[in-house]
Amino acid sequence: MSLQRLWAILAKEIRQLRRDRLTFGMIFGIPMLQIIMFGYAINTDVRQLSAAVADQAGSALSAQLQSQLEASQVLRIVARVDSGASLQQLLDRGQVHVGVLIPPDFERRLQQSVRPAVQLLVDGSDPIILASVQRLGNMRLGMDTAAQVEPAVQLFEVRNFYNPERRSAVFVVPGLIGVILTMTMVMFTAVAIVRERERGNLELLINTPVSSLELMLGKVLPYILIGLVQVTVILLLGAQLFDVPLNGSLLEVYVAALLFIAANLGLGLLISTLVGTQFQAIQMAFFFFLPSILLSGFMFPFDGMPRAARLIAELLPLTHFIRLIRGLMLRGVELIQLWPDVLVLLGFFLLSMTLAVLRFRKRLD
């Protein structure tokens, strides 16, 4: 292991990266665009669902119900019709997601509380919409009892449920650090070796005294720096745009990020020693990327997944990083309390690097 050679490889990587304007731009561009895009777009608080109302009662109370519905911001009333059949039509055509049918005997039903007073017709094809509207059902009950001036508490409870402060951005941004790093880091090193092979540089390089370890470390180290820059960009934007709190230690966030970056780079490098072309490398990176997003707990609650999916998820660095980063940033715990995930990430890095170094042969066959 010669530091001079390691430095030569490292300096060359940085120089080439700096000249590759597009890639260099993506180092900053990808995290910025993604955090803005997903920070606003990934929102599990469903709001402003388009709705149509058939108010067959036409009473003061039914008007009050409608304004309450709109005030909840869950529904946006875009059409008023007079029959249940018309509501059905609008739903069928996909013009609205929800139909509200207020029957002529609305007030009597309220008094009797035998049958539900109002019918909600829901486009159940999107489970998230269905879930939201089912929760809206709770609110109607609250509204019912409010009419009898009984417990206004229940109505309040429903409002809380809807999380008017857009808390999900807070929940999404820390996870986004992991997703963005997975995407950029694995890709960077996945093409690192194979690009030299494709361009013909590798045949020259492997005929020099450079060792596998020097070559691999020289390829990984510059990107660790880049990964940390990306983390900084996301943290700054997250704090600025979405008021994402940092309840734990900033240093520990960087330590966790460093481990995660290293694990991903190692994995990318391993991919690079397995494939023959850059195209294959990118395909393999994507093969790894999709389960990372879907199974890591970033999109769906980890505990809600089937056992098999959870086992696979444990094999993905992102799962462990999401636990770490949410713990550090949102719950404000200390890194040491999350030591199992720390160890797993460290293990990922060491294992993938070792395999990459062992797999890489200074030969052409």
Binding site: R5, K12, Q16, E203, L205
Partner: protein, 328 residues
């Protein structure tokens, strides 16, 4: 090493010694049972058509490929076993340009110098020398990707010699280069040999092959002839007849397909006809054959060229039925 011993084929005097070196890729036998002895301090040529195993042999010799059978000793190191220690002593110029196109001439040289572990002082000194010797001074800040074929080749050679290797392996170094650059390139090669470097160079150009001190001709992975160019031309077991006529294509048709004709090569209005040496009075033979076909032609015996040797020896491996095929 004294001059007296140098002529003997002792192991110490050989830069490269290969015994039964073979390499298969699946069903394809790229190199087959190659025995090779390359003495130090000379330009040794590999002559052969594309796919004859030149590149594979060079890669086997520097340990980039594992042999399927056989072994080789290069500068006293067994390859591939001891290839790592050999790397400091050899320079390798790949057939395809393999320096970094997105780096400048200077950056490429500096990178290679660092990879070979040259000290800062030595690095500066060698790079300056290289820029001068290979006429790269004015191109120092140009991106390697923007260089012409000849400039790239000079840069590659400069990079391959920065660490002053004892042995240079050059894989078709002049294939993308104009004639003047080729001439200059060979001047540099002879200068390197004068300084004690051994050079193994593969080529498919006859004029370059003729410039080598010694030469091995490869055909379909088999070494079919080796020796000095003069030896090879003297030892050829073919007679060469030069035919001049007004109707060269008719001559071609008349002679092709005959068992006694090994090959016909057209050069403008003339044809070089190769016949087995066993044929007595070859020019008379050819004249007779042509008269029988009703063609007026002048026929002279002539001395074999290296190309004739090449044509004669690379024929052997193939079926003799296609022996009258025209060589390009």
């Amino acid at each position: 090493m004294t001059g007296a011993v140098q002529t003997s084929a002792e192991a110490g005097d050989l830069a490269i010694e290969a015994r039964g070196l073979s390499r298969r890729f699946g069903d394809l036998v790229a190199v087959s049972g190659l025995d090779l002895q390359v003495p130090r301090g000379m330009v040794y040529g590999f002559l052969g058509p594309n796919g004859s195993g030149k590149s594979t042999t060079i890669r086997l010799l520097c340990g980039l490929l594992l042999p399927s059978a056989g072994s080789a000793r290069v500068l006293g190191h067994e390859v591939p076993g001891d290839a790592e220690r050999l790397r400091h002593k050899i320079g390798y110029m790949t057939q395809r340009f393999s320096l970094y196109e997105d780096m400048t001439v200077l950056e490429n040289l500096d990178f290679i110098a660092r990879i070979y572990g040259l000290s800062r002082v030595l690095r500066q000194q060698r790079i300056q020398e290289a820029l001068q010797q290979y006429h790269l001074g004015e191109l120092a800040r140009q991106f390697a990707g923007r260089l012409s074929g000849g400039q790239r080749q000079r840069l590659s050679l400069a990079a391959a010699t920065l660490h002053r290797p004892q042995l240079l392996l050059l894989d078709e170094p002049t294939s993308a280069v104009d004639p003047q650059s080729r001439r200059d390139f060979w001047e540099v090669l002879f200068a390197l040999v004068e300084q004690g470097t051994t050079i193994l160079v593969s080529t498919h150009y006859m004029d370059e092959a003729e410039r080598c001190h010694r030469l091995a001709i490869l055909d379909h992975g088999v070494l079919v002839a080796d020796g000095t160019p003069l030896q090879l031309m003297a030892d050829i077991d073919c007679a060469v007849v030069l035919v001049e006529s007004a109707v060269p294509r008719a001559v071609q048709r008349a002679l092709s397909g005959l068992d006694s004709v090994r090959s016909i090569t057209q050069l403008g209005m003339r044809q070089r006809v190769l016949l087995p040496r066993s044929v007595g009075q070859p020019s008379e033979q050819v004249r007779g054959l042509l008269q029988a076909a009703g063609i007026e032609a002048q026929c002279h015996d002539t001395t074999p060229s290296l190309e004739d040797v090449f044509v004669a020896v690379t024929r052997k491996g193939r079926s003799s039925a296609s022996g009258s095929e025209v060589m390009p």
